[in-house]
Amino acid sequence: MAKREIQEINAGSMADIAFLLLIFFLVATTMDIDTGISRLLPPMPEEEEIDDDQEIRERNVFVVLINKDDDLFVEDGFYDVNELKEMTKEFFLNPSDAEDLSEKRELTTDYFGTMMVSKGVISLRNDRSTSYGKYIAVQNELAAAVNELRNELCLQKFGKKYDNLDPLNEAEADLIADAKKVFPMAISEAEPKNVGGN
């Protein structure tokens, strides 16, 4: 019995098979990176406690309301979304120590030393019929205001923008933490209720 020579396998169709697999994975997978605005929800209160124990004075609350027709009411009147960022920044900075803007207190941090920081809190309230798009637009402007304040602070003291700081670098991570202390993202959202809007 003569041994038959082993025939070489024809690998010509290998490319086709591989292409088929490739196309399957291309179709079945996602490459898009999730992006979005990160927020931390307040934890649920343990009992029915009235959270008036820490009294916040009226001048320290920056009232932002969105009614059912997506109109934006800030502090004392109706404004456009584009104006919100500047108003928020002014409220927190209060450069002229105005009576109706936020109060300040002293805060000492490792990196920024002792400086006057705002006691202000943003109170954001919306109606049940407010559109989500508008809500995000407002959230975005408020976040932009705080981020810009942090940017300016870090640029002034260290010549580097807050956005460009690297959280993996130990010293810069501390700097980020301190900048957050000076300008916290102080947005308080009331329990949903009907703000109304006629």
């Binding site: 079945a28 999730d34 992006t35 989500y132 995000i136 976040a143």
Partner: protein, 160 residues
């Protein structure tokens, strides 16, 4: 004519395609490693709002997604056109969120559970009523890290 004859006379050598499978396999492996399997079929149509202050969500294994939006057009006959919540592959009510969060948590590594993030993919035309309900449920389930999914807005002023 003579030109053609010349080339045909010499004969174009066939390109060796033996390495083609290798190249394609390399591509294949690249895609297999870099991508994540699509897990859910969307039953609601979601166009997330635009924003500028967005951050990337790292580590997809820590992220659970809640979709809210109108049912897609072919499902509107049966489910109507009111905004609905979608968890995994099915429509849900706000009451289901707590169970959803618990089961998502159980699937995670114990060390990662604290870092669990809920990504809210909500259509921009949805009204805040349903969104607030979902947020309340998330608070009750103590899934406090959330992310309002949004697209990057191109700043027109910067382009000019």
């Amino acid at each position: 004519m003579s030109r053609f004859k010349k080339s045909s006379g010499k004969g174009l050598k066939q390109i060796n395609t033996a390495s083609l499978p290798d190249i394609v396999f390399m591509l294949l492996f690249f895609f297999m490693v870099t991508t994540v399997m699509r897990e859910t079929n969307l039953k609601v149509s979601v166009i997330v709002p635009e924003a500028t202050e967005i951050k990337k969500l790292e580590k997809k294994s820590l992220v659970s997604v809640i979709y809210i939006g109108k049912p897609t057009r072919n499902l509107q006959k049966t489910f109507g056109s009111e905004p609905r919540i979608q968890l995994n592959d099915a429509f849900a009510t706000p009451d289901d969120i707590r169970d959803f969060v618990t089961s998502e948590r159980e699937q995670m590594d114990e060390n990662d559970q604290k870092q669990m993030t809920v990504s809210l993919k909500i259509d921009q035309k949805t009204s805040m009523g349903i969104v607030s309900e979902v947020k309340q449920e998330l608070r009750k389930a103590s899934a406090l890290k959330i992310n309002y999914s949004s697209r990057k807005r191109v700043d027109m002023a910067l382009l000019k």
